[in-house]
């Protein structure tokens, strides 16, 4: 992929062995949380990752943060490999915003301590210098200096998420991994946080990897979108292409499944049969075949490659549009 990529993920796999039995514990199965995922994120862009439970999006986030090591493949950030042992100088360039603003802030720590903690780890600064770097960040996320002495319980969910964002920004990272950052928030607050993230991206020139299960949020925030299912990439394209001409049946179903609050525009809905298979029992061949309305023999035999249909538009389907039947 492109040379200008800030983050490059090359055929990354993360398998978790499932052990069973008393003594000795034997490996009974493998949970393929992430199974051969490749993509690149260019500096300054927002890549949205969408998928349902078990699609591996959060495991992928952990791999990119260097919180766990892949079972195979490489995560390369600006030319250097990302691992659990990567140097602090590299680690500080990627920061994360978490889903649950109630669980991700230590209730016993003041806002000052929460936000300055990354500084304590990465920099040697005096108290005044630390305050000097925190206050502007808090202001950027819409909180005044009076917040410094307060504790998380004194803030609402939306404000807590702002604090979480400030903590991620205090080290001046280039890239933010946002793992479902607005899922726990009410819609009216969700819009505030999304706007804040868009604004910060522009003012600080950030690169985002934005993970969500909410396709309308993904569409709003992303430049390019990657659709995941059971640990594999189903489709990857820039936003306009994906929403105007999705090639993968799963993407189409996902888009059509969203109930819209606009009457009169109801389109025919594709309702997928059956349940999401467990990532322990990923069907051989195409992972989506068990629910795909257009599944054929080949789908059970051969795993479809992620192929470029048109410039920058990739899909992993034997019958994707613009793709000769095999």
């Amino acid at each position: 992929m492109s040379d200008a990529a800030l983050l490059e993920v090359r055929d990354v796999k993360k398998y978790f062995p499932i052990k069973k039995g008393a003594l000795p514990r034997r490996q009974a199965a493998v949970l393929k949380a992430v199974d051969g995922v490749s993509f690149a994120v260019a500096r300054g862009e927002t890549l949205g990752i969408i998928g349902e439970s078990g699609c591996g999006k959060s495991t992928l986030a952990r791999l990119i943060m260097g919180l766990s090591d892949p079972s195979g493949g490489d995560v390369i950030y600006d030319g250097s490999p990302v691992t659990q042992k990567m140097p602090l100088a590299l680690r500080r360039r990627i920061q994360m915003v978490f889903q649950d603003p109630y669980a991700s802030l230590d209730p016993r720590m003041s806002i000052r301590r929460i936000v300055e903690e990354p500084l304590r780890i990465h920099e040697r600064l005096s108290g005044a210098e630390k305050t000097g770097s925190i206050v502007p960040v808090l202001e950027q996320v819409g909180l005044g200096p009076d917040a410094l002495g307060k504790y998380p319980h004194e803030f609402s969910g939306g404000q807590r998420q702002r604090i979480g964002i400030a903590r991620a920004l205090v080290l001046n990272p280039e890239m933010l991994i946002c793992d479902e950052p607005v899922s726990a928030l009410d819609v009216s607050i969700q819009a505030q946080v999304l706007n804040l993230l868009s604004h910060l991206k522009k003012s600080r020139g950030l690169t985002y990897l934005f993970i969500s299960h909410d396709i309308s949020v993904i569409k709003h925030i992303s430049d390019r979108v990657m659709v995941m299912y059971l640990g594999q990439v189903m489709e990857l394209a820039d936003k306009k292409t994906l929403f105007a001409g999705a090639a993968h049946p799963y993407t189409l179903a996902l888009i059509s499944a969203i109930p819209t609050a606009h009457t009169g525009k109801k389109t025919t809905r594709i309702i997928l049969e059956g349940d999401l298979p467990s990532p322990i029992h990923v069907p051989p061949g195409c992972p989506f075949q068990t629910r795909c309305p257009g599944a054929a023999d080949i789908c059970g035999k051969k795993r479809p490659e992620l192929r470029e249909l048109s410039a920058g538009h990739y899909a992993a389907c034997h019958f994707a549009k613009g793709c000769e039947r095999i």
């Binding site: 069973k20 039995g21 008393a22 003594l23």
Partner: protein
């Protein structure tokens, strides 16, 4: 499941062997039975002869393997003191101990579980606080202290109940109280907290929404879920009762294996002590195994796992 049981049984046997070994060594380290048996001192030759007869002149390792081989072939040896087969001594006294233990365990369940349930249902009420107060008091007072206290009040002062030995149901009253207060208190406390954990759960609301009456919600839906923790604690209490019987039987001169073990320990009657400890150890590990196995009967989430 079979595999799981097999592994657990092997683990349990290893535990028994370990405990037995520790007792074997400890009892030999703490003194020589010959000193006790020939209290007048006796001459060296008599001592040596006695040692030889008892098999104590052999190297420790040899004594150890002989004892194990004996156990495996069903020969628990002969008591130094009574000069009778150890198995006979235990057989005579087993009934007394088992009867007492069964009554104590019954009383523990009969009082502990309902008290815990009512305390949980009346959470933060006077009844709840009283139960919890009783519970703390109950398990902080050691059973032998309670036993002596009970004898002092009811036998010596009020002269209402016999202070020891067996015979009539009245003989049961004091030892049963002394032994069951602490386990009943524990069971009440843990039943309460297990039920409180369940009481806030969504599925109880769902049961109510189906139209189940409150009694059904509590006694069918909630208690059935709390039972998993209650059974665990009951198993632990049974172990406690077995261990406690050793001391309480002595206090009340109850002619069971507890008294036998305590006396034999004083007399350095190694074969009796070793066999007694092994019986206790086997019962406790067997109970733990049964408790673990009951989980899969009680909790379907555990059932399919192995």
């Amino acid at each position: 499941m079979k595999r799981y049981v097999a592994v657990r049984v092997i683990k349990a046997l290893l535990t028994v062997l370990f405990v037995w070994t520790v007792v074997f060594i400890l009892s030999r380290v703490t003194g020589d039975p010959v000193d006790w048996m020939l209290q007048s001192g006796g001459d060296m030759r008599a001592r040596e002869q006695l040692r030889h007869n008892l098999g104590l002149d052999l190297p420790l390792a040899q004594q150890y393997f002989r004892a194990i081989a004996g156990m495996l072939t069903g020969d628990a040896g002969t008591s130094f003191y009574y000069a009778r087969p150890v198995s006979d001594l235990f057989a005579e006294r087993m009934t007394a101990t088992l009867t007492l233990g069964a009554v104590v365990f019954g009383v523990t369940i009969l009082f502990g579980v309902p008290l815990g349930v009512f305390a949980a249902l009346r959470h933060n009420s006077v009844l709840d606080r009283l139960t919890m107060g009783f519970s703390v008091a109950g398990y902080t007072v050691p059973n032998f202290v309670l036993g002596i206290l009970l004898i002092f009040i009811f036998s010596l002062h009020l002269k209402l109940l016999p202070s020891g030995s067996v015979g009539t149901p009245a003989h049961f009253v004091l030892p049963v109280i002394a032994m069951s207060v602490a386990p009943a208190a524990n069971v009440a406390r843990l039943t309460r907290s297990a039920l409180l954990d369940v009481i806030g759960q969504d599925f109880l609301e769902c049961a109510r929404a189906k139209g189940a009456k409150e009694s059904r919600v509590i006694f069918k839906h909630a208690l059935r879920n709390a039972l998993i923790s209650v059974v665990t604690i009951l198993g632990a209490q049974l172990g406690y009762i077995i261990g406690g019987s050793v001391v309480v039987e002595t206090v009340f001169a109850w002619p069971g294996i507890g008294t036998l073990i305590v006396n034999s320990a004083k007399q350095r009657d190694f074969p009796v002590v070793q066999f007694g400890v092994m019986i206790i150890c086997i019962s406790v590990t067997a109970i733990n195994l049964l408790v673990d196995l009951s989980y899969s009967a009680l909790d379907p989430r555990i059932r399919g796992r192995d």
